[in-house]
Amino acid sequence: MRIGVIGAGLGGLLSASLLSEMGYRVEVFEKLPFLGGRFTNFNYRGYEISTGALHMIPHGSRGPLARMLKKAGAKVEIVDSKPEGTALYNGEEVKISRKRIPLRSRIAFLAHCVKNWFKEVKLSELEKKLDDFSARYLRAFLGWSFSITPEQTTLSKIYPVYRSILELGGPGVPVGGCRSVIEALVEVIRSNDCEINRQKVSVIRKEGYGFSVHLENRTAKRFDVVISDIGHEETARLSGLKSYAKLEPSRGIKYSIAVKQSFIDHTGVLFTLNTRRISGMNQVTNADPNLGKQNFLMAHQPMLTTNVRFEISEGLKDLKELLKGYDYEILAVQSFSDGWPVNRALAGSDIGCKTPVNGLYVVGDGAKGHDIEVDGIALGVEEVVEEIRKTL
């Protein structure tokens, strides 16, 4: 049984490592000279700057990704954030707890749930009924976690995420950053004698019971099953399928900042509530000092307009105010959209791992299970692995 995996992002590598552990013959194709896609990092001027992610695993060592890494035999140490988050509100850092949310807002939330559960009512409607703190926290939370605003989503889309956070708890930082997860997975794949090739896939063709995967160097390989980590739309394009999915991506901007003095004194997220754009920040060197030679802060914002330069200028104004009095240097400003977005599908609108073609699966972003970010990716991968195990 031969399985071809297209794309060596987190979804592709996690699938390949699990399946290679189960004894399948797996071959991975990656078009770029590095592995890990939007979940790895490069050392840049002494800081481990990631290609995408904020070096955070949504549910830390307790979530689906941690569980699947263990299952694959990939050794990654994850430092769980403690506290999970605080908020900077009117110049003061406050704890986030149930007590902080006034009864009036909790009742408004419940009433909203009951009234609007089956309706596509935007979360901004709920926001209007909340007190100032809760409304701003909701906005910052959505901006940090999903690069979206309350105008872009509904309660039913976000609710599963909210539940899983209550159940599994908040984030953690992998020691070594995102790349350590990727390296651990690659080690498993290689130790099972499976190959990872640097090749761009140009066509996926169904042939009889299997597939032929055409590479840019004009060769083709045959597989019984194909797993694609390049998103539903690109998968449809390469397989000549009429586009069966139209997903709306989320777009955001990330700032990597070196600070002399420590700005955040914990390993969780600092949500910033009185800003134009910046939703939150983390100081990842608190979890792993080797991620930067000084304090290493990351800040994240959603894009509210399509004018990237304007969005960045708004974000930079926020940072100037937030970091007033600190010695800092902005190392990198990275914006994400279109072919390299924050998420290929707005939170809660992923469409699962199946395609119209039997034996062709999609994993990764856009094909998540019921959880967020890389933990959602892990659930999607789990489903595909289970499907393959059942049918083959």
């Binding site: 490069f42 290609t51 995408g52 990237v308 330069r309 969005e311 990198a332 400003v333 072919g339």
Partner: protein, 56 residues
């Protein structure tokens, strides 16, 4: 010569890997041609194929 096209999303992967520190990014990559040595690393690492190498 290295040329950045309209496809650039501003992800800064090229900046992170450029051995000559010849790239700055703020929404879009800009190449400092004085520093660039045409090694083409940025061309290969760009995830959206937004950088071209033009023979001059």
């Amino acid at each position: 010569m290295i040329v950045v096209t309209e496809k650039c999303v501003g992800c800064a992967t090229c900046m992170l890997v450029c051995p000559k520190d010849a790239i700055t990014v703020e929404g879009k990559a800009e190449i400092n041609h004085e520093l660039c040595e045409n090694c083409r690393k940025c061309v290969n690492y760009c995830p959206v194929e937004a950088i071209n190498f033009l023979k001059t």
